[in-house]
Symmetry: D2
Subunit: 285 residues, 4 copies
């Protein structure tokens, strides 16, 4: 079924070779499509080609998507990720005791800035139950101890999968996800780390930054991988600090960074603006 306004967003990447841009644009043009945006990038060092395209197809959206995918695969030997502009994915929020990132994501969904729905909130604490209730969200309390971790993670995966989430957002969830969790949930996980990685990876980064006497602090949104704090970086932001600032000041300034950096990362993911390769990201913003 085709909507007059609906467009298709395609994210391509694969081995670079001559004529890619001409071929793809020619294919869409020949089929009566109207390209709204086209952005590409070449990693000349690695010989990889990346492209984000957005076009309004002349024909039925679903079938155009299928045909495009076939063309990309057969003609170019490349992978394509395709998104309908009308899509409104479900996301699962994982939280602990911090409210700022949680409320920020929720309010941006409510205001329409983030085109997604929150399918569930999963937490190892009870702290944000009340706020979740206020916002009308489905809250799941899943306390974790070292002994129960495996079991609880399985339960969390079950909840998230049943909720239909296509993306997990760790909004200052203060537990390390196991490799098994990441494998089982089978969807991307975005995490916000409260330092400008790779500086101050691991726990208590604001305390470490204070001890080291840095003049700039930061926050980093990245895809979670098995290697803690080492996944592909999506977005970073920083703020200046001085000797006058206490650890508490660093935390306060950091909260500003965390929520805006996390929101950008989630928005770019939802809008199909992120390609990952070799532990890096290409952001078509």
């Amino acid at each position: 079924m085709k909507s007059e306004e609906e467009s298709i967003i395609a994210l391509l990447h694969g081995r670079d070779r001559a004529g890619l841009v001409a071929h793809v644009a020619g294919w869409i043009y020949a089929r009566g499509g109207n390209i709204l945006h086209a952005d590409q990038h070449r990693d000349t060092q690695e010989g990889i080609f990346f492209q984000r395209l957005e076009w309004i197809p002349a024909g039925d959206v679903e079938s155009e998507m299928r045909l495009f995918e076939e063309m990309v695969s057969f003609d170019l030997g490349m992978e394509a990720k395709l998104i309908r502009s009308s899509a409104r994915p479900k996301i699962a929020l994982m939280v602990s005791n911090f409210e700022h990132c949680f409320s920020d994501i929720v309010l941006r969904c409510r205001s329409g800035e983030l085109k997604c729905d929150i399918s569930c909130v999963v937490s190892n604490h009870e702290k944000l139950r009340q706020m979740s209730s206020i916002y009308g969200l489905d809250y799941h309390y899943t306390p974790i101890t070292p002994e129960t971790k495996g079991e609880v993670e399985s339960e969390q995966v079950r909840i998230i999968k049943e909720s239909g989430a296509e993306l997990i957002v760790m909004a200052r969830y203060m537990q390390i996800l196991s490799s098994k969790f990441l494998a089982d949930c089978n969807c991307p996980v975005i995490n916000i780390h409260h330092s400008f990685l790779p500086a101050f990876a691991g726990a208590r980064p604001y305390h470490k930054a204070y001890e080291r006497g840095v003049k700039i602090i930061g926050a980093t949104a990245h895809y979670a991988t098995e290697q803690l704090d080492e996944g592909p970086i999506i977005a970073q932001a920083v703020a200046t600090v001085s000797h006058r600032n206490s650890v508490e000041d660093l935390m306060r300034k950091g909260r500003e960074l965390e929520r805006s950096v996390l929101a950008n990362a989630v928005r770019w993911h939802i809008e199909g603006r992120i390609l990952t390769y070799k532990n890096k990201t290409v952001i078509f913003d």
Copy 2:
């Protein structure tokens, strides 16, 4: 004559219509060219299409440029500006008493960061003659009074034209260029204004900023037009200030901004990264 490594840079703009990307990319591909970079932009509100392309042609560079220009004009009804990657344009520096932007541009040319040559230095003061001499530059002292302005400007235009300059850079030249000068010199003029325009246009912006008590100051590089400080903005940067800062502090902080903003603007111009329309710029950086 063709160099193995040489590429062609094209800046196109014109009325948007379906198939532009496919047509241009297809033309280059069909002639054996290898596209290195392609970046485009649509102003959907105005219906204008902008593109920057860089490719290594299979054939002779000069003739490929000529053929491309014809194709763009005949097939698409668009204008193209074409640059050889080996080009090393001449630029004329106009200066007064401030050294920071002047030395900055000179040193970037010397280090190879800016791929251009300084064909002459024109000044209404003698202050920078010694530094020009140290740097081995051709210095022209052209003092100006209200009475002699027309006459002196004609002389300045003559010097600049004879030097072969294709771009004029006002590196804190503290005189307003007349419409006649801009018309006669017949080449782009980049100016650096010491505020974040449109705030504090005109004279003594740091004093005005101090008086107003702003918490942020800035600098703006723009193309000079007949309307003072109202030409298309190329680059802007800002720095924070506080009640502790004197006007002198604002000036010192501003010098940092001025020189980096001006250098970016000149670099983007030389590398064929700027398109202007409707008093705005599109920067393909």
Copy 3:
């Protein structure tokens, strides 16, 4: 009544003269007080001295405050504004249809980052009634037409005064307050303007910024005065934009700036960190 932990914050300003720092510090020291912070500033051009002091008095807090005020007035001929560290002022929020600044201030109050209570929400629209209800806030709908403006403003002043507010925060309230309102409410009013003032004062600044083609947008928190958008600037922040950004993108980026800039301004005001003079602010942060 004295609390063990309670400190006094004093904001002084007046004609500069020799010995001020020694006199004030000596007075506190002689009375057994323990100075936690002392920050001063001299506007040498104007000959004005500014100081922010925070100390734990040895004696009763109330009487120490009274004695300090007398000393400052009699000995130094200066004005002092005094705040107890335990104070938790009431603030009135004025809003229209935008939620981001409103929710931001409310959530910061809830989390304890802003040490104040929201005594009432006054709006010329119904849009934020539901959110106010969710947050448990007292909401007053006061629609305004050109004809009813005087009358409605009187009603607004009455509501705000009865609520006990000591500060009014215009969280994107899209009406111009009359001189009468400002005089009658008799308390400071902080406004957030969605541009880096003095650029783009007045209505629709993001549209104006888009039209002008600036590369940086901003937001400005200032005290409201009779002259629209010309009051003392408290805080400013900026973000970069490019030709790729639509007016909607500017608005989205601007919302980030608006809420953080407004929150900083409100926090500094509440913590007694702002002195105003000659339409400027001194911020002891």
Copy 4:
């Protein structure tokens, strides 16, 4: 000998206790001094008090400095570092092949922005000999091999000491200074590291940053200590990068950061604005 305009700058630090501010300010006031600036900081966690004072003494500058130092030592048990405002210290530049930081420091000295003289340039390469000659600087070529390092460093120390330098500035000097060098030169050494430390310490930080795919790069000025890249941080600055930026782009953007960060650090040092303790700095700017 007393100059009418000359002021004294004092940097104090020591164990915090009640009455410090009153005592110091009272002493200056009692002796007819006129305090221009006074800025203090307490590290409440460590119980350390820091103060920067600038005043015009009524009496002879030299004897007032001596008396102040005695008062601080006897009365307060604190250390004081004292600087005459007319002082114009000599600095030694250590360089390798990069010109940007070198030229930047030289030009700021020439323009009067940095109130110091360059007593010598020491380099392990010949690259900057010509520029040094142009600027009229004393250039010493001291090539280093692993075998000759000890010997050459002794020679470097001798050159620097004979030149009368009170500060060594490593303007992208690409050798690690030995503990012996640092001990022997017996003066502060400021280094510029081309990353936002502690991220990417050690060699080739721009390459490491590129590999890691960070979205922000930085530069850090710090005092050199025996632990490579671990000395007290003086200043940091950052710039955004994207997937479009090559390693060369990172280097170019980094050069901007390096030179402005290094210049700030040198200026603050010369103006007596930096106190160090516990591997951190207090910057009274």
